[in-house]
């Protein structure tokens, strides 16, 4: 019974990691790729490690408890470090004026924008 929970948690963690990787490859520009790479992994790491924690706590002992606490510390530090690193990368990209992708805007008469996808050079900051 508990094994089913563990398998469910780990499989959903892997699915999210898979989606993260696909997003990293498919998304059009630097900023959107940072979205996929930087934080699709927070929930998936949490799910994977939660699965491992439950698996370890199945036969309860002091040592298993210690391992579980260490694993939850990993989750804690991932949740602290991942957004900070993501922020540092995307801020550096903005500082270096990496152009960003925006959607094609349709023209006034409803025709879709004919040219290539627009790459914005203008800055808001």
């Amino acid at each position: 019974m508990l094994n089913a929970v563990v398998i469910f948690l780990m499989v959903s963690g892997f699915m999210l990691f898979f989606a993260t990787t696909v997003g990293l490859l498919r998304f059009p520009d630097f900023y959107t790729r940072v979205h996929a790479a930087g934080k699709g992994d927070t929930l998936s790491t949490a799910l994977l490690l939660a699965g491992l924690i439950i698996y370890y706590l199945q036969d309860f002992s002091g040592e298993a408890l210690l391992t579980a606490v260490k694993l939850s510390l990993i989750v804690f530090f991932v949740f602290l470090a991942s957004p900070t690193a993501t922020h540092a990368i995307i801020d550096a990209g903005y500082e270096a004026k990496v152009p960003y992708w925006t959607k094609r805007k349709p023209s006034a008469d409803g025709e879709p924008y004919p040219g290539p996808e627009r790459r914005r050079e203008d800055r808001q900051i």
Partner: protein
């Protein structure tokens, strides 16, 4: 006060990481956490001059905020995973930079808000300049979750303000 809390955190961390309870390892732990506390006791809890009771209230509120935030992360993660796997990803997404003025006063509350925005997939805090947050949002939906109705602060910002500055939620 901050030194005592730092020491307790460091020593608990040492015990968890070493997993040994004999005299030698505990003494080493006492010595090294004492050294770290002496070097950096004003680093971990800087700017926290609140009384103990106030700190407890803040921790309680923060735990409730963490529960709410986890649920938001789950929803938003599924949203982004669906976007990554959807065949019309480029049609659905509409990346742009959102900026809004914050009502938060302290640096720590702003740090928590910025990290929470980055944690929920779909939005990344680019920078905080003066009172203004610059956030890169990947779809219109994630941008909408961020900004509140009208000019007021968004739901997440109201939570953070409630936790750290005692505002209404």
């Amino acid at each position: 006060m901050s030194a005592i809390i730092t020491f307790c955190v460091m020593f608990a961390f040492w015990i968890v990481m070493s997993g040994k309870f004999d005299l030698f390892h505990l003494t080493m732990g006492l010595l090294s956490s004492g050294l770290v506390t002496w070097l950096s006791h004003d680093l971990l809890f800087s700017g926290h001059t609140k009384k103990f009771g106030g700190l407890m209230v803040e921790i309680g509120r923060f735990l409730r905020y963490v529960v709410w935030l986890s649920w938001q992360i789950v929803i938003a993660n599924i949203h982004i995973a669906g976007l990554a796997l959807s065949p019309q990803a480029r049609e659905i997404m509409d990346p742009h930079v959102v900026s809004f003025k914050t009502v938060l006063k302290t640096d720590f509350a702003r740090f928590v808000l910025a990290n929470s925005i980055t944690l929920t997939p779909g939005t990344v805090t680019i920078r905080i300049q003066d009172d203004t947050f610059y956030v890169h949002a990947i779809t219109a939906q994630s941008a909408g979750d961020l900004a509140g109705a009208g000019d007021g602060p968004g739901e997440m910002e109201r939570w953070v303000a409630w936790v750290f500055e005692g505002g209404s939620r």
